[in-house]
């Protein structure tokens, strides 16, 4: 049976009555869920809760029917977690650190050695495995973080902005890696980079001010934005006038003119032509809608929560 993650009306309140997360609910089986939202939306708080590092103020979370809060050790056995921000022991090598974390995750002997070699290969660190970590670049440390999360072949993989600090090639490699890992796993990752979602996520959850404001597939979000993206090439002065009234997703200078992509519910300029939005533009459009509605009613949502 496929393990199921159920998050039931979970809230988290920090000091001074500040709510980081409000009544978040989600049910998920195997697949890759991308969590997207502005800074302070509650993504890291949610992922820390799933990693058993934070207790919710209210609500319940279960994994395979078992309460995560009562039995955190049960989920830790099947968990792989990459925090948003983490450090290393500079004095030791990547291999030693992975052996250490592998042993803590319950791996032993030949199985441990095999897994360490496998994850080093997956993240392209085999050649640097015996170098001291103080010589590693930020991107290499990040890849090491991903490697350690994969050591125990986790059923639940929680990644908090895993691609931050990776160069474009490393990011593409990660995008290739994630789908190959997903299989029967539940993968939840947060990101600000919509391209990562586009390339890897089967599901998408948008968070805003601690609340789940939308969930569905990337295709559904794109469909919502299908008639709200316009492209036009106009002189600079006209572009400035349009920009004052509409949200611009991109503006590329073309000689004395500007080729712009505009988010708007109706035609923003006589020369504007409908265009196919990217997922990033669909997300911006959704955020725009949220801003206008001031959190009262989400912008077109096929599956409101």
């Amino acid at each position: 049976m496929m393990p199921t993650l159920v998050i039931d009306t979970v809230s988290k309140r920090y000091e001074r009555n500040r709510w980081a997360l409000r009544e978040f609910s989600l049910r998920m089986e195997a697949g890759v869920l991308g969590l997207v939202g502005p800074n302070g939306a509650g993504k890291t708080t949610l992922l820390k809760m799933l990693a058993t590092l934070l207790r919710p103020t209210e609500g319940h979370m279960t994994w395979n029917g078992q309460d995560i809060l009562r039995h955190p050790e049960m989920v830790r056995r099947v968990l792989g977690y990459v925090p948003q921000d983490f450090g290393i022991y500079p004095q030791i090598s990547a291999r030693v650190l992975l052996h250490y974390l592998g042993e803590l995750k319950g791996l032993r002997g030949v199985q441990l050695r095999r897994r360490v070699e496998a994850v080093l290969g997956m993240v392209g660190l085999s050649a640097d495995a015996d170098r001291r970590l103080k010589t590693f670049s930020g991107g290499m440390v990040r890849r090491l973080g991903i490697a350690q999360a994969l050591l125990n072949e986790p059923r639940l993989l929680v990644l908090d902005e895993p691609t931050v600090g990776l160069d474009p090639a490393e990011r593409v490699h990660f995008r290739e890696l994630l789908p190959s890992l997903s299989g029967e796993r539940t993968v939840i990752f947060s990101t600000h980079i919509i391209g990562d979602i586009e390339a890897t996520a089967t599901h998408l959850a948008l968070l805003n001010h601690g609340r789940l404001s939308w969930t569905g597939t990337p295709e559904a979000l794109l469909a919502d934005a299908a008639e709200a993206l316009w492209t036009m090439t106009v002189p600079q002065a006209e572009f400035e006038r349009v920009r004052a009234h509409y949200r611009v997703s991109s503006a590329i200078p073309r000689g004395s003119s500007i080729e712009a992509r505009i988010l708007a519910a109706h035609q923003p300029h006589p020369q504007a032509l409908p265009a196919t939005p990217t997922l990033e533009e669909a997300y911006l459009l959704f955020q725009e809608g949220m801003g206008q509605a001031e959190g009262i009613e989400p912008f077109p949502s096929p599956k409101p929560i």
Partner: protein
Amino acid sequence: MYTFWVVMKLEFRLIWRNWVTWLMVVVMLFIGALCASSNRNEPWSSWAHLGTTSFFISLILTFCTGNQINRDHARRLDGIVLSTPVATKSYVCGKYLAGLVSLLLLAGAGLLSALIVDRFPPGSHGFLLFAPPFYPSLGALSYLISWTWLTLPAIIFGATFMLASLTLTRGQRAIAYLVSLLIWVLPLFLTQSIPQLLDITAAVFFPQFSLAPASHVSGIDPFMQFVNQHPSWNMDAPPPANLVQPIMHLSLASTPPSPIPSLFLWNRLFFLGLSLLLLVLTISGTHTLRRRA
């Protein structure tokens, strides 16, 4: 149990890959050698030298430890480590014992250098801060006794106190250092005001190495009687051959001073018990912090 060894092994490796640890080895070797050379120069003050050496060794080593768990937090590694299935007590005890064993090895380096210098042949020439060894070897037993009674409990307490302080205060070093300084130094000056049970240095039991005024020491000890009987003897010069044996006899008889008060044993047990309590507190605190990493 296995993860306890895993945590301890890595922590031990991290400690000994730090240059400060090796600097401490040099410091301990120096302090140990200094103690032995002082004993060889003034054997009648051996217990004072051993007490002072124990004081410095335990205080210095206390200042060098305790950051094992807080370091994981400061380096933001706790999220990764504490989301593994490792039990909190295995994690804390592994970190603690790696620190404690390292301190004992460092203190052992001081003991080793003292034992080596103690074996040097007598002579009349000093070297830098080392006094000339006028008198023969004191023997290993005196060093082992003082290490066991004075250094060992103080180091165990220091290691536990600093681990608890730095873990539970999330690395407030200034507070931990100040409190430990007060715990170690005050009894040296306030032998009469500090309850005997609370003196980690044990100076209160052996005023010979206390820094407090010695007016409360009543009576004249056998060594002072000996000095009074030999007014021509110059304590700063090589001793006449006929006085070496009686001086060594008197010195060894007072190392350790006898009788050892029974409250001294309770004092040592008190600090060991307190250490156990602090360790339990650290485990409990880490368990709570684990849900707020």
